[in-house]
Symmetry: C2
Subunit: 200 residues, 2 copies
């Protein structure tokens, strides 16, 4: 059985977007499978007494510059989504609805959603955007829309967000490998070292 | 004339400590001189509405682990100072008093103070510790103690801290090279890339 690591991300996290390009390849290189978990940063900010980077004096201006500069260094496109920040509820609910049918499909949806948001600037807060992204992955948009209105699907995402907090996940991206926590796109290099060496 | 970059640090910043080992070598490799600037994180935290990492729920526990784990990866000793966090006023004042006589001496003092704090766990908030560190660098402890009691020296540090805020420095370590800002030990690799490529 393949070893696993956990990759937590918020759909409106610029650093989560940067990390999402790398995590699967790094995991696979060392015989791991990355389990993806959509979360919401809102409850995490509440738990730690923080707020979206762009809303913080000085840090906001720096971060906007750093997102784009780091994306250029990493060779990936970067724009800010039309609405940002915001609670990506529909995207998160869609992710788990798909995940419970087929984790790989959920991952493909997540990758498409990240690119729609941060490579194309699309508004992930609109249900229509989520449906269009899903359609692009061969998912039935009407079935998705119906599912997102059910309490079961809303509750599924809510429980996943709470579970992430219970496990000490307070940011995005956040990786847990064999109990070891790594916070931030900056730490993806350390995740790779950790897998390569089996810790240090 | 050598090109310069600015390296801002708080004496009780674990990530500043990690970065201090690297910044001069990186600068010199690309024909730069690093100008060191002691700051205080207290006023920066106030400006951005934050607080010391260890005082933040969840983030504190993670950070304590991350300081030590990153130090091990970077191959340097790491312990927490006897008193932490705290406002390193005496160390900062001593730094500028020395700096205005001989910037290289101030840098040697800063390096010795960082190692006393984070390699040996010494209490930088005690004047006696600062005097002992200074003595180890051949500095007259009594002259230092007398200087630290003067308004001129207190004011010198206060102005330097304010100047750092005015320039948008809100963390430690913080590097500015040709107007480009880099925050955190995580960004030292980007600083190196920036110097090597002349930007990207």
């Amino acid at each position: 059985m393949a070893k696993t690591l956990d990759f937590y991300f918020d759909f409106y996290s610029p650093y989560g977007y940067l990390a999402h390009y790398k995590i699967d390849a790094i995991a696979e290189r060392y015989g791991y499978t990355a389990n993806w978990h959509a979360i919401l940063l809102g409850p995490a900010f509440k738990a730690v007494g923080s707020k979206p980077l762009l809303d913080i004096p000085m840090v906001g201006e720096y971060s906007a510059h750093d997102f784009a500069r780091t994306a250029r260094l990493e060779g990936v496109p970067f724009v800010m989504p039309a609405t940002f920040p915001g609670a990506t509820l529909a995207a998160g609910r869609a992710f788990y609805w798909l995940h419970d049918q087929d984790p790989e499909l959920a991952k493909r949806f997540a990758k498409a959603a990240y690119k729609a948001a941060f490579a194309q600037g699309q508004d992930l807060l609109q249900l229509d955007t989520i449906k269009a992204i899903a359609s692009g992955e061969g998912i039935d948009g009407q079935a998705l829309e119906a599912a997102l209105q059910t309490e079961a699907v809303k509750e599924r995402f809510k429980r996943a967000v709470q579970a992430s907090l219970d496990q000490g996940v307070f940011g995005s991206p956040f990786v847990v490998v064999e109990g070891e926590q790594f916070w931030g796109n900056d730490r993806i290099l350390q995740v790779e070292q950790w897998l390569a060496r089996g810790g240090w």
